[in-house]
Symmetry: C2
C-alpha cells in the first residue's frame, strides 16, 4: 500500500488548485470510494511528501484537514489511519436512484396539494399585453431609484441600530397613507414585509387558528385564498352584489374577512360607504377582523382615491395591506401591513419568527424616494397615463369585440373585467397562443356560478400596444 498510494494520486502543477487542496480532495475521495479502507494506515507524511515530490507541509496540512473532518485518525508517533467504523459505500446506503429516493420524502398535505393550485398564473418570458397586475415599468424613474439605492447603501455604516421596520420609511409611508388613503395610525404600526403576500401569510398565522372560518370575495383575489388555506383556515367564498361583498348571516361566523374595497379584485367595483359601515358593524358584532387589501388603491380615475376602510373603523380590527409593486414597479416587491397599535409587539415577534424581514438599505432607499416626492410624483403621472390607457382600452375593445364583451368600467386600478358568454378558459388559452395574456374569470370564482369573463390589464402597455392586442382579441372573440 505504501507504494501504491502515490500512484493513486495525481497532482496538477498548473497553478489551479493548490497542491494541499488537490491532495486533500483526492485522499478524501479515495476514502469515500472505499479504495482506502477503514483501519488502513497511510504512509508517513515524510514518505508521502517524498514520493509525490511536494513539501512536507503540503502533506501535513492535507492530513490535518482530513483528520479534522474525521476521515483520518492521528496518534502521536504512528502513521495516519483511515478512521475505523466508516461505512462509506454510498450505493449500499441507498439502492435506489436519486429521483426515486426523493419521491419517498413525504410532504405536508398542503405542499402535496400545491401542484393543483391555479394561483399565481406564471407566464414565462417578457410580459405581454394584457397581463394583469403590472405597472408600466418603462415609465418608472429607474435612475432616481438607483440613486436612492446607492445612497442608502453608502449610508449603511452610519445606521448600525436597525429596528426591523425602518422608522424613516414608516414615517414617510404614513405621511402618504394618512393624506392620500385616509389611514389613521402611528408610524410604528406599519410593518414592512418582503411582499404583500407574506403580509397575508403573517396576518393569517397570527389571527387564525387552524379550522377557523375566513371569508373571501367571489370572484376574488387568488393570493388571499391560497394564503388563508396555507394557514389552515376554512375559507368561504362570499358572492358579490353591485356594492361588493354581500354580507349574509353566516352559519359559521368568520374570524377573518378579506376584502378589496377600493377597487374590488377583479371587478374594479368601489365599495360605497353604506356597505363599508355594514361590514364594519358586522365585524364588530361577530368579533371578526378584516384585512383590507388596497393593492392598487393609489390609482383612481373618476375622483380622488376613496378613503380606506381602516380609517373608518371604530375599533382597531382592520388590517390595512398595501404593496409598493403597483405604485412603483413589479420588482420593488415590498408589502406593508398596518396593524392595531396593541398588536405591534406580537406582530414584530411573529415577523421575526417567520423570517419576514427586509433589507434596511432597501427600506431606506424607499424612504428617500417617498420623502423626496418621487413616489407621489410618479403616482400622479401614472394616474394620468393609466386613465388614458383605460379609456383607450375601452374604446379599442368596443371597436374590436363589440357586444361580445360586456365591460365594467373600473373606477381605478390597472385592469378591467370583460364579461363574455363563451368558455373563458378556452378563450384565454387561444388568446395566449396569439400572444395576448388574460386571466379567465372562472379561475377567480370560488362559488358556483355560470359567470365567464376575461381579466385584462391595461396599465403596462401604450396605446399602440393596446390597439394591436385588442385587434387580436377581437378577432378571436368574434
Amino acid at each position: 500500500m505504501d507504494d501504491l498510494l502515490p500512484g493513486m494520486l495525481d497532482l496538477a502543477r498548473d497553478g489551479g488548485d493548490t497542491l494541499t487542496r488537490q491532495l486533500t480532495d483526492q485522499l478524501r475521495d479515495l476514502i469515500i470510494r472505499g479504495r482506502l479502507a477503514p483501519g488502513q494506515r497511510l504512509p508517513s507524511s515524510r514518505q508521502l511528501a517524498q514520493s509525490l515530490d511536494v513539501s512536507r507541509n503540503t502533506v501535513s496540512f492535507a492530513i490535518e484537514q482530513l483528520a479534522a473532518e474525521g476521515y483520518l485518525s492521528l496518534s502521536a508517533g504512528r502513521r495516519p489511519m483511515v478512521a475505523a467504523g466508516l461505512s462509506l459505500d454510498r450505493r449500499r446506503i441507498s439502492p435506489q436512484g436519486n429521483r426515486a429516493a426523493s419521491a419517498r420524502l413525504s410532504l405536508s398535505a398542503w405542499a402535496g396539494s400545491l401542484h393543483r393550485a391555479s394561483w399565481p398564473p406564471v407566464h414565462d418570458g417578457r410580459p405581454r399585453p394584457f397581463q394583469p397586475g403590472l405597472a408600466d415599468e418603462r415609465e418608472f424613474p429607474h435612475d432616481v431609484w438607483s440613486r436612492c439605492l446607492r445612497r442608502a447603501a453608502r449610508n449603511a455604516p452610519l445606521r448600525r441600530d436597525r429596528p426591523i421596520n425602518h422608522p424613516p420609511l414608516q414615517e414617510a409611508l404614513l405621511g402618504h397613507l394618512v393624506v392620500h388613503r385616509g389611514i389613521k395610525a402611528k408610524a410604528s404600526q406599519i410593518l414592512i414585509l418582503p411582499t404583500a403576500q407574506s403580509g397575508l401569510t403573517l396576518a393569517a398565522n397570527v389571527l387564525l387558528e387552524r379550522g377557523d372560518h375566513a371569508w373571501i370575495e367571489s370572484p376574488g383575489y387568488g393570493g388571499a385564498n391560497v394564503a388563508l388555506h396555507a394557514a389552515g383556515a376554512v375559507v368561504s367564498a362570499m358572492p358579490l352584489d353591485a356594492q361588493g361583498m354581500a354580507i349574509s348571516s353566516p352559519r359559521d361566523a368568520p374570524r377573518l374577512i378579506f376584502v378589496t374595497p377600493s377597487h374590488q379584485y377583479p371587478t374594479g367595483r368601489l365599495m360605497p360607504i353604506g356597505r363599508r359601515l355594514e361590514l364594519l358593524r358586522f365585524a364588530e358584532t361577530t368579533g371578526a377582523c378584516i384585512i383590507e387589501d388596497d393593492y392598487d388603491g393609489e390609482f383612481h380615475y373618476e375622483a380622488r382615491p376613496v378613503a380606506a376602510l381602516q380609517g373608518l373603523a371604530a375599533s382597531p380590527r382592520v388590517f390595512y395591506l398595501g404593496t409598493f409593486s403597483k405604485a412603483t414597479y413589479a420588482d420593488i416587491r415590498f408589502g406593508y401591513l398596518v396593524v392595531p397599535e396593541a398588536l405591534i409587539d406580537v406582530f414584530e415577534i411573529a415577523q421575526r419568527h417567520m423570517g419576514m424581514l427586509t433589507s434596511i438599505t432597501m427600506q431606506d432607499a424607499l424612504a428617500e424616494f417617498i420623502g423626496a416626492g418621487a413616489y407621489l410624483g410618479h403616482i400622479r403621472r401614472m394616474t394620468r397615463l393609466y386613465k388614458g390607457r383605460r379609456d383607450r382600452m375601452l374604446q379599442a375593445l368596443a371597436a374590436e369585440a363589440g357586444d361580445r364583451l360586456s365591460i365594467e368600467v373600473p373606477a381605478g386600478g390597472m385592469q378591467l373585467l370583460a364579461r363574455c358568454q363563451t368558455n373563458d378558459r378556452q378563450l384565454s388559452a387561444r388568446l395566449l397562443e396569439a400572444g395576448v395574456v388574460s386571466r379567465p374569470l372562472s379561475n377567480m370564482l370560488y362559488h358556483r356560478t355560470g359567470e365567464q369573463g376575461l381579466f385584462l390589464g391595461f396599465a403596462a402597455w401604450n396605446e399602440k400596444e393596446i390597439d394591436q392586442a385588442a385587434r387580436i382579441l377581437g378577432r378571436i372573440v368574434r
Copy 2:
C-alpha cells in the same frame, strides 16, 4: 339648513390643500359625525358655491366624490341628499375604547404564545461587544456593494423576464458552494429567500404535517426551534456529545432533523465524518429529511472549511440552508435553501404562496458581487481577521477571567461558548448593565441539564474593543 351649512365649513385659501379637497373632507366629516343626518338634503351646488365664494366646479367635484364614496345620493334635478340608512355614530358601534376593543381580537394559540419566546434576543441601540451573530460591517466594502446595487437598479429595465429565483445569482452562488462548501446541485435547486429564517419556515411548512416530530440540537439554534414550532411540529431536543448531535433510537421517528454540522451552534464543534454518515444512514432508514444550517460555515480557522453534509448524502434528503448576512453583513439578509431537484417546483409554488420572494435588483447585485470576486475576497480577508480576533479573545478571556470560564476553542465561525459554574442568566444580565452583550447558554438548552455558560461573539470587534470588554467581563465574573 341651507343657511347653516356654509357656516359649518371653513375653507383655507393658503395654498395648502385644494379647495375641492377641503370641501370634500369637511362635508364627509360632518356626515360621519352625524351633523348632517341621513336623508337630509344639501343646498344645490350653485347655492353652495355662491355662499362659499368658490367656483361651481369646486363644489361639483366634491359632491361627485362623496357620491362615489357613497356618502351622498344624487338624482337628476334634485339637490344632493345625505345617503339614507347610514348609521355613522362611531361611539354607538363600539362603546369601548380602542385598546379594550383590540384586546378582544383573538389571536392564534401560536401568536398568543409569542410574548414568552426567548428568541430572538433583541438589543436596542448599536451593537455592543460581545453580541453574537454579527459580522464586522465596518470592514464590509460598502462602496463596492453600492456600485453593484446601482448598476443592478439601472439594468432593471433590461430584465423584464423575471423568474423568482434569479438564475445569474443561482449560478454565481452555486459556483461558490460547489468549490468551497462541497455542495452537489444544479443552480436551479437554489431558492433565494428574504432571510434564512424564512427558509426554515418554508421548509418546515412544505415538509411537515402538524404534529410531526422534528429534532433539534440541545444546546441549539433558537431560530430553528421557533420556526418548527410555528409550523406545528412536535420538537424534540437531542443532547450533544463531543461529535455533535447524539443519535439515539427514538420513540417517535423524526420527520425532520435540524443540524449545524460545520460549527455546531452554539458550541462551535465540528461534526466529524463518522457522525455525519451515521446521521445520513439514520435519515435514510427512517425516511427523515435533514436541514443542514451552514450559517457561518465560510469561516474556518484551522484548515479549510469542512465539506457540507449535503454533498455527502446518497439520496437527496438534505436541505442546505445558508445566509449572506454572515459572509457579507447583517443587512444583506437574504438566505438560500438548496432543495432536491425533484422538489424545485413544489418549493417555488410554496415560496409564492407564502410570499417569500425577494427583489431581483438585490439578487442581481449579489450575483455581480460574487461574480466579480468581491464576495470570496471579503470572506478570505475576514477569515484572517476573525481568526486573529478569536485568538485575541481566547487570550483576553484567559487573562481576565482565568479558570472561571472554560472555553471550547471553536474551529470556525464568529462566536465561542464560555462555560461557567454560576447562574448564566444573572451573569448575562449583569454584563448587559455594564455594556457587554452575551447570550446565556441556558436560553439555548432545550433539555434538562445543569450546563451554564455565555455565548460570546468576537468577529465584529477589534482587538482594543475585545480587550476592553474582556476586562469588564473578567471583573464581573470574578
